[in-house]
């Protein structure tokens, strides 16, 4: 055990954690919006809209995140036409490409989580709202969405942890996130176990925090 290396690499890894957290928080927020939109589309009775939303979630859940991030960073960046448009400003940055890939990916999983949450809401709750004369828009915003959020908390907590681990793939498109820096230190010192313990410890600490926050929220909103 090389304790000195562990102590030396800790601050480097910690500053890389900031990038990991940035990637995670931005993609989760964008992903939540995408997920909500597609969950609502999934509940639409129009078969085309419905199929489109299903296709989106099937595509992003059936392929590895690595493929998605490669298509967006290497694939789209290679189209000559795109280089002339304003999109190139975004697509030439690995940071934004990673965020696009992560957001679309977590959006697909979130849409499934929210859809099943909407579907498990008892019809009686909606009927009760209707019989009180509440407009259906208000029923949706004030009754269905809060219940759906409560229902989907445990599953969404898992999704946050999966996404936290997913951000490690940013290192494959040259971003120096926690895993990227860990790999760099490993390949220069050839001390994989020490670096794994430190980097893994940081990841475990983050999952621990997420896990407990979700648990706290679950208790707070339980009924």
């Amino acid at each position: 055990m090389d304790i000195e290396l562990m102590a030396n690499s800790f601050p480097k890894l910690l500053s890389a954690t900031l990038i990991t957290l940035k990637l995670l928080s931005v993609s989760l927020i964008v992903g939540l919006f995408i997920g909500l939109i597609f969950a609502i589309l999934r509940l639409n009775k129009n078969i085309f809209i419905n199929k489109f939303a299903y296709g989106y979630s099937y595509l992003f859940r059936g392929t590895p995140l690595l493929v998605q991030i490669f298509i967006i960073y290497y694939g789209l960046g290679n189209i000559e036409y795109l280089r002339t448009t304003f999109l190139w400003v975004i697509l030439k940055e690995p940071y934004w490409c990673a965020i696009i890939a992560f957001s679309l990916n977590t959006g697909a999983y979130t849409s499934e989580i929210l859809r099943s949450a909407f579907q498990t809401i008892k019809l009686g709750v909606i009927e009760a709202g209707k019989s009180l004369g509440v407009p259906s828009k208000i029923i949706f915003y004030k009754i269905q969405i809060p219940i759906a959020i409560r229902q989907s908390l445990p599953a969404y907590g898992n999704e946050i942890i999966l996404m936290l681990k997913g951000t490690s793939l940013a290192s494959t498109v040259t971003l120096m996130d926690l895993t990227g820096v860990a790999k760099y230190i490993i390949s220069t010192t050839f001390k994989p176990i020490e670096v794994f313990i430190v980097a893994g410890g940081i990841y475990l600490f983050m999952t621990f925090v997420v896990h407990n926050v979700i648990k706290f929220l679950e208790k707070k909103y339980s009924y």
Binding site: I71, L169, I193
Partner: protein
């Protein structure tokens, strides 16, 4: 389309063999995962606190740390560990571990943690009366496990195991970093030499979609088979 031709002019046959490699790695990893689950599920269910702690440490670490980091650990640390063990037996030469073994083993350890949780959940949800009834009938420990508990566990675990399989299949794409020529690595090589990354990574996406679709169909059949009589 000619990029996908079989033979020397296209990448069709290379991608085909790469797909077979992905399937082989995924199945090997899944089996290694079952092996780990076989060890750690009893530890999780045991009443001994210490054994519980070992199993919980395993599943917590693996499920809380990114797959890529685990792969790097085995990729860079694997041959050192094997050489260390070999040196105890007096073998001092350099040993290089095959990329297939490194990949399948690291993905297997990850898949094993998920399988352990699935089996634990399935065994715990079996009605207590089943255990008692087996005891009353005077079945031996093995008879109880293989004839009563295991068949019911399989039925309950199958839907979740199919999720683990999908995760494992998609995780195999990560072992491209070890240099093993599976779908992702082959697409990377093809994209590099033809300068058409969009096309080849889309091919990879289609191949993965095909694999997940196919395995879903097969697993649905298995589920039907095991839920006969329910």
């Amino acid at each position: 389309m000619e990029l996908l031709a079989f033979g020397d002019t296209g990448w069709g046959d290379e991608l085909f063999y790469a797909t077979l490699m992905t399937i082989a790695v995924a199945i090997t990893a899944m089996l290694i995962g079952f092996f780990f689950a076989l060890i750690f599920t009893p530890l999780k269910l045991s009443k001994n606190r210490f054994l519980n702690l070992i199993a919980n440490t395993y599943t917590t670490i693996i499920r809380g740390v990114p797959e890529l980091l685990v792969i790097y650990l085995f990729f860079f640390g694997g041959s050192a560990a094997v050489m260390f063990v070999a040196s105890i037996f007096g073998y001092g030469e350099y040993i290089e571990i095959n990329a297939f073994i490194t990949g399948a083993f690291s993905i297997g350890i990850i898949s094993g943690a998920y399988s352990t949780e699935v089996f634990r959940g399935a065994i715990q949800s079996i009605d207590k009366g089943q255990f008692e009834a087996a005891n009353v009938l005077g079945l031996s420990k093995f008879g109880k496990f293989f004839k009563i508990i295991l068949p019911q566990t399989l039925r309950l675990a199958l839907p979740n195991l199919s999720n683990v399989w999908q995760i494992t299949l998609k995780d195999t794409s990560l072992i491209m970093v070890t240099g093993l020529v599976e779908i992702m690595r082959q697409s990377y090589v093809a994209a590099g030499s033809t300068r058409d990354p969009l096309f080849f990574y889309s091919c990879a996406a289609v191949l993965y979609l095909f694999l997940t679709f196919l395995s879903m169909k097969l697993i649905n059949r298995l589920e039907l088979k095991y839920s006969r009589g329910y």
